[in-house]
C-alpha cells in the first residue's frame, strides 16, 4: 500500500508539471501580456520598460524554466497584478470556494440518494418519471442561467436570500477566531444557499440518475433474488444487499465530484460575486497574470490528483475484489 501511494504521488508530480506547461503555453499563445499592465497612453518606451520589468522580454523557454526552477524551491512567483506572492492570494481565496463546494456537495448528495432510490424502487411509475425528468432538466439547465433566475426570484422579488457576496466561516476558523466563525455561520449559510444550489443542481441531477441506474442494475442480480427468496424484508434487501453494491460507481463519481466542483464554480462565483478561487482565476486569466494562474492551476491539479488517489483507496476498501497494482506501473 505504501509503495503504491508513493508511486502515485510521484506520478502526480509529472501530471502537475504537465498542467503547468499546458497552461503556460495557453496563456502565452494569447500574445504579449505587457499591454495589459500599462496605461492606455503609455509610450512605446514605457511599454518596453514594463515588458522588461515583468520579465516578458525573455525567451519563452527561459521564462518557463525559471518558473519551474523557482517552483522546486517552493516559490510560486509574484502575482503581476497584486504584486504579492501568487500562492498566498490563491490560498486566501480557497476557503470561500471550499465552503461553496462542500455546501453544493451536501445538497447534491443529501437529495440525490433518496431521489435515486425512490426512482429505482418505483421504476416505471410517476415517481420515476418525475425524478428522471427533474434530473434531465437539472443536467440541461446551465448553472449561470439558473443562478440569474434564482437571483431574480429569491433575491430580488421574494427577498429571501442575499443576492451576492460572501461571509467567511473557514477563514476565521483557520485564524483561530472561532467566535467570529460561529457568529458568521448563519450568514455564511444564507449567502451559500443560492450559489450552492446553482452549483450543485447539475451534480444532484447526475448523482440521482447514477444512483437510480446503479441500483436498478444491482436489483436485477441473482443474489438479490436469493435474498428476497429467503424472505428478508424488502428494506433490508435494499439497504444491506443492493445499496452497498450500488455504491461503487457512485463513490467514484462523488470522490471526483469535489474536484470537478472546485474547478467548475467559475461562472457561478462570477454571477454571485462570490470571492472564490474560480473568480480569482477567471480574472487572472483575463489579466494574463501568469504566476497567479499557475499557482491556482497547480493547487487545483494537486487537489484533483489527491482526490483520485483517495477514491482508489476507498474503492479497495468498499470492494474486496479490487486490488491495488502494487508491483506494476
Amino acid at each position: 500500500m505504501g509503495s503504491y501511494i508513493l508511486r502515485r504521488l510521484l506520478q502526480s508530480v509529472v501530471v502537475i508539471v504537465g498542467v503547468t506547461l499546458v497552461s503556460f503555453l495557453a496563456l502565452q499563445a494569447g500574445g504579449d501580456p505587457t499591454y495589459l499592465f500599462v496605461s492606455e497612453r503609455a509610450s512605446l518606451e514605457e511599454i518596453e520598460t514594463t515588458r522588461r520589468a515583468l520579465g516578458f522580454d525573455r525567451p519563452l523557454h527561459v521564462q518557463y524554466l525559471t518558473f519551474v526552477g523557482d517552483l522546486t524551491r517552493g516559490d510560486f512567483g509574484q502575482s503581476l497584478s497584486y504584486r504579492q506572492p501568487a500562492m498566498d492570494i490563491v490560498l486566501e481565496a480557497l476557503p470561500a470556494t471550499i465552503e461553496l463546494t462542500l455546501f453544493s456537495m451536501v445538497i447534491a448528495l443529501l437529495l440525490a440518494i433518496p431521489l435515486g432510490i425512490l426512482a429505482a424502487i418505483h421504476r416505471g411509475t410517476a415517481w420515476d418519471g418525475s425524478i428522471t425528468t427533474f434530473s434531465m432538466l437539472g443536467q440541461s439547465i446551465p448553472n449561470f442561467w439558473m443562478g440569474i433566475m434564482m437571483i431574480l426570484v429569491f433575491g430580488l422579488y421574494l427577498r429571501w436570500f442575499p443576492i451576492s457576496g460572501h461571509v467567511p466561516f473557514i477563514a476565521p476558523m483557520m485564524n483561530g477566531e472561532f467566535g467570529v466563525a460561529l457568529s458568521n455561520l448563519p450568514r455564511t449559510l444564507l449567502h451559500l444557499i443560492l450559489p450552492g444550489i446553482a452549483v450543485g443542481t447539475y451534480s444532484l441531477a447526475r448523482n440521482t440518475r447514477l444512483i437510480r441506474s446503479s441500483l436498478l442494475e444491482v436489483l436485477e442480480q441473482d443474489y438479490i433474488r436469493t435474498a428476497r427468496s429467503k424472505g428478508l424484508p424488502e428494506m433490508r434487501v435494499l439497504i444491506h444487499h443492493a445499496l452497498r453494491n450500488a455504491w461503487l460507481p457512485v463513490v467514484t463519481i462523488i470522490g471526483l465530484e469535489f474536484g470537478f466542483l472546485l474547478g467548475g464554480v467559475v461562472v457561478v462565483e462570477t454571477v454571485f460575486s462570490y470571492p472564490g478561487i474560480g473568480r480569482l482565476l477567471f480574472a487572472a486569466i483575463n489579466q494574463r497574470d501568469i504566476p497567479l494562474v499557475q499557482a491556482g492551476v497547480i493547487l487545483l491539479a494537486g487537489i484533483f490528483v489527491l482526490l483520485n488517489l483517495v477514491v482508489d483507496l476507498v474503492y479497495v476498501r468498499l470492494d474486496p475484489r479490487v486490488k491495488l497494482a502494487e508491483g506494476r506501473a
Binding site: 500574445g31 492606455e40 504584486r83 436570500f161 443576492i163 454571477v271 460575486s273 494574463r288
Partner: protein, 519 residues
C-alpha cells in the same frame, strides 16, 4: 416521534427563522454608502494603480496636491498655492498647515517629496499610471522639500498640462512606507485623504472609514460585483446605493423599479474610427484611398452618428468634431451631418467612382469586442453605413486584450479601426496629446500633417491664454477638415443610483462620493 426527529425539526425551524430574521435585518445604516463596482481591486500601491475602479477608491484614501472638480477646475487640496518657475521646469507647492497622515504623523513637504521620488524610483519597478504615464509625460526629474511646507517638483521641460497631471499623484506618508516592504504597502495604504482603509476582502469588498472632511458618510463600502445583472439586482433590491457600468438593456428595469434611477452622462472617452495612414497600410486594399483627405471627409458624411447613439446606446448625443471634449473644443466647428449624397459626391470627386458592381473600393475595418458599450453593434452599423456609399467593408472583430490591443499598440490596426481613448475635461491640450508627435505611441493612425504637428512648438511658446486658445482652434480646424479620425461620439457612462441617495455622476469616470448624501 423519536428524539432525532425532534432535533432535526428544531434545527430546521431555527435555520429558517435565522434566514428570515437575517434577511429582514439586511437594511444598511444611514451613515454608510455602498458602491457596486464592476472590476476587482488589485492593489493600493500608488505606484501600481492603473485601473479607474482602483483609483476611484484610492482617491478617497490619498490626498492630492490639488483636486479636479467635476467641472474640470483644479482646486486646492493638500496644497493651497503653486508657483511655477519662469522656465516652466520647477513647480513649487505650498502645503496647508496642520495636515496629518492616517498613521497620526504630520504630513509635511518631506512626505510629498518622498511620494514623488518613491514612485519615480526605477528600483521599485512600478508600472502603474503614475510612473508609466504621468511621470514620463511631464519628464519628471525629482522632488525636494524646500522646508516643512514647500515642496519643489522638477520636470525636464515646460509642459502646458504638467500641473493637471501632477494632481493625479496619490500623496502618501514617508514614515509608514519606509517601514513597509513593497508587498505590505500594496495592501496597507497610509494616506492623508478624507477616508482611511478599514478592511479589504480581496475580490469582495473594500471598507473605508471617514477621518476628516469632506465626506457625508462615515463608511463607504465598495463592493466588487462583476456581473452586470447582479449589480442591477443589488441596486433594485436596495442593497447597493450606486452602481457603475449599467448595461443599456437594464436601464428600463432600473428606472421602472421605483427604487433607483439611471444617470447617463456623456463621458470623456472619445470614440472614433481611425484611418491608419502608414506606408504599410497604404499597400492594403483601401489603404491608398484613405490617404486622400477628401475620401476621409466623405466618409464623415456617410455615418449617421445621432441615430447610432439613439438606437444602440439609448442616448441622444451630439456628434464629436474632434479629439477634444466639450466645452473645450473649437466652438466654430459644427458636427458633420449625415449626408450620403455629399459623401458620394466627394468620393466621386476624389476619383473613387462606383464600379459596375457598385463598389468603390474594398477596405477592412478592425475592432476589438466587449470593451465599449455595445461595441459590436456600433461597428456593424458603421460598416453598413459605409457600405451604403459604395465601400466593400470587411469587418474583422478581434478579442480585445490578447489580439486587438497588441496590434493597436504596435500601430498595426487598420486601415480602418474602431477605438475609444480616454480624455479629460480640464484641458484641451490633454485631449490632444494623443498626437503630440508623429511617432507617439498613441498616434495609432500615424497621421503626419505638419499643420498639426508643427504647431506643438508654437503651443509650448504661447505667451498668453488667448494665444494658446487661438493655436488650439487652428489645430482643431485642421483635425476636423483633414484629420485621421472619423468622428463618432463621447461614450456615455451609465450609473445606477438609489433613490435614497443624492449624488451626481461625473463625466470623467471618477466615482467620488465625498459630496453624496441622503435625500
Amino acid at each position: 416521534m423519536n428524539l432525532r426527529t425532534h432535533v432535526a425539526r428544531a434545527v430546521s425551524a431555527g435555520l429558517l427563522g435565522a434566514v428570515v430574521v437575517l434577511a429582514a435585518c439586511a437594511e444598511r445604516a444611514e451613515d454608510t454608502i455602498v458602491v457596486g463596482l464592476s472590476a476587482d481591486i488589485t492593489t493600493f500601491e500608488p505606484g501600481m494603480i492603473s485601473s479607474r475602479d482602483n483609483s476611484n477608491i484610492a482617491e478617497h484614501i490619498f490626498g492630492h496636491l490639488f483636486v479636479l472638480s467635476p467641472e474640470g477646475e483644479h482646486l486646492p487640496d493638500l496644497a493651497h498655492t503653486l508657483e511655477i518657475s519662469e522656465d516652466g521646469t520647477a513647480y513649487v507647492y505650498t502645503l496647508r498647515d496642520g495636515l496629518t497622515c492616517h498613521d497620526g504623523e504630520p504630513l509635511t513637504a518631506e512626505d510629498v517629496a518622498y511620494t514623488f521620488n518613491r514612485i519615480g524610483d526605477p528600483a521599485n519597478r512600478f508600472t502603474g499610471n503614475a510612473p508609466g504615464f504621468v511621470f514620463t509625460s511631464i519628464g519628471f526629474q525629482g522632488a525636494e522639500a524646500l522646508d516643512d511646507l514647500r515642496v519643489q517638483i522638477n520636470i525636464a521641460r515646460k509642459n502646458a498640462i504638467a500641473f493637471g497631471l501632477i494632481t493625479e499623484i496619490d500623496v502618501h506618508c514617508k514614515d509608514s512606507y519606509e517601514r513597509m516592504t513593497l508587498d505590505e504597502a500594496a495592501s496597507n495604504p497610509i494616506g492623508s485623504g478624507p477616508y482611511r482603509l478599514a478592511s479589504w476582502t480581496r475580490g469582495s469588498e473594500v471598507v473605508l472609514e471617514k477621518v476628516r472632511e469632506p465626506g457625508n458618510f462615515q463608511r463607504i463600502v465598495w463592493r466588487i460585483i462583476p456581473e452586470a445583472s447582479t449589480r442591477t439586482a443589488e441596486l433594485i433590491a436596495g442593497n447597493v446605493d450606486i452602481i457603475t457600468n449599467v448595461v443599456p438593456e437594464q436601464i428600463e428595469a432600473i428606472n421602472g423599479s421605483g427604487r433607483a434611477e439611471v444617470q447617463v452622462v456623456a463621458g470623456t472617452r472619445r470614440m472614433y474610427v481611425g484611418f491608419n495612414l502608414s506606408e504599410a497600410h497604404r499597400q492594403m486594399p483601401g489603404g491608398e484611398a484613405i490617404q486622400d483627405a477628401r475620401v476621409r471627409r466623405a466618409l464623415q458624411y456617410a455615418v449617421d452618428v445621432p441615430t447610432i447613439c439613439r438606437q444602440l446606446l439609448s442616448i441622444e448625443c451630439e456628434r464629436a468634431t474632434g479629439p477634444v471634449n466639450p466645452p473645450n473644443g473649437n466652438p466654430d466647428l459644427t458636427p458633420y451631418p449625415y449626408d450620403p449624397p455629399a459623401a458620394e459626391r466627394l468620393l466621386d470627386e476624389a476619383g473613387w467612382a462606383r464600379g459596375s458592381d457598385g463598389i468603390r473600393f474594398p477596405i477592412r475595418l478592425q475592432a476589438g469586442q466587449g470593451r465599449y458599450v455595445n461595441d459590436v453593434n456600433v461597428v456593424l452599423a458603421i460598416s453598413q453605413y459605409l457600405q451604403d456609399v459604395g465601400l466593400d467593408i470587411e469587418v474583422d472583430f478581434m478579442e480585445w486584450a490578447s489580439v486587438y490591443t497588441p496590434l493597436l499598440r504596435e500601430r498595426n490596426t487598420g486601415p480602418l479601426f474602431f477605438l475609444g481613448t480616454g480624455g479629460g475635461v480640464w484641458s484641451p491640450i490633454y485631449d490632444m496629446t494623443d498626437m503630440a508627435e508623429v511617432g507617439s505611441g498613441t498616434n495609432y493612425t500615424q497621421w503626419d500633417d505638419e499643420r498639426w504637428f508643427g504647431r506643438w512648438a508654437d503651443l509650448a511658446e504661447a505667451a498668453t491664454p488667448e494665444e494658446t486658445r487661438s493655436i488650439i482652434d487652428e489645430m482643431l480646424q485642421v483635425f476636423y477638415d483633414d484629420g485621421p479620425w472619423l468622428h463618432l461620439y463621447f461614450q456615455p457612462d451609465f450609473y445606477g443610483v438609489s433613490n435614497r441617495i443624492d449624488w451626481q455622476a461625473r463625466r470623467d469616470e471618477r466615482v467620488h462620493v465625498f459630496a453624496a448624501g441622503l435625500k
